[in-house]
């Protein structure tokens, strides 16, 4: 028996760590992974609330988030690859011109 608030706190912590990752990492791919971490944190809170209110829809929302994350990963990584082709670097601080 553990209170659901623990799950929620864990989810908040994962989300915050995701933001921190975005802020401190310098590698484009790692930053992208931080975003995935944030999504996962949010997913956990969805599942927790689905459990709290006995609603299946909360879980289905997570399912949709996964689908969107998959799509996002496919397109995002394709973009990263084309950026790497153009710039030969993955360091975000070097990719600050809004043109290729």
């Amino acid at each position: 028996m553990i209170p659901l608030s623990w799950y929620l706190l864990l989810s908040a912590a994962l989300f915050a760590l995701g933001i921190v990752g975005f802020l401190i990492r310098r590698n484009l791919i790692t930053i992208f992974m931080s975003i995935e971490l944030m999504l996962n944190g949010v997913n956990l809170s969805f599942v927790t609330f689905a459990h709290q209110w006995h609603l299946v829809k909360g879980q289905i929302f997570v399912f949709f988030v996964m689908v969107v994350a998959a799509a996002e990963a496919a397109v995002g990584l394709a973009i990263i690859i084309s950026i790497f082709r153009a710039r030969a670097t993955l360091a975000v601080d070097r990719i600050d011109l809004m043109k290729l």
């Binding site: 659901l4 992208f32 971490l37 799509a71």
Partner: protein
């Protein structure tokens, strides 16, 4: 039992997330993220979402993260370069993160009617999930399939252009 499992996997989760931040090499970060996701799958199972747990493993750990490692391997991304930082990222970002975390934590801790979870809680069966998904939420489901299709086309288009340029050289 639930407590032990929770502490184990929540700890693993947080450790993985921290490791993701601290590792200099993207492949280590990626593997840390796989650890986080797998632990999360266990936590989903503890919350009675068995299908989501499987989906978490298959989709996140098995597909998305493989894609990440694949790209890391393809680009042969090495250790992070040391570059000049962003002042606003630190000066503005960290207080903001602290504020977000503080607010959310306050709200969660002050919430009165949150229940609790235990191993004896019912498990949401796949059948139940699919009934809702394919009846009430059929339209969003179909729309996501269109989204996936668009994403595939987008990814292919991006990759194609790169190939074309290389062929041009």
């Amino acid at each position: 039992m639930h407590l032990i499992l929770f502490i184990m996997f929540a700890g693993l989760c947080l450790a993985g997330a921290l490791n993701l931040l601290l590792q200099k090499h993207p492949i280590n970060s990626a593997l840390s993220l796989v650890v986080v996701m797998t632990s999360l799958a266990v936590l989903y199972l503890l919350l009675g979402a068995e299908f989501l747990a499987a989906a978490q493993i298959i989709v996140y750990a098995g597909a998305i993260m493989v894609l990440f490692t694949f790209v890391i391997m393809l680009l042969n991304a090495g250790r992070e370069e040391r570059t000049r930082g962003s002042v606003s990222a630190v000066a503005l970002g960290f207080p903001a993160v602290a504020a977000i975390l503080a607010v959310i934590a306050t709200v969660i801790l002050k919430a009165q009617d949150l229940g609790s979870a235990s191993l004896s809680d019912g498990i949401t069966s796949t059948e139940e999930l699919s009934r809702v998904l394919f009846h009430e939420l059929l339209l969003p489901f179909e729309v996501t399939s269109v989204l996936i299709l668009i994403a595939i086309l987008g990814a292919v288009a991006l990759a194609r252009r790169g190939n074309g340029e290389e062929a041009g050289k």
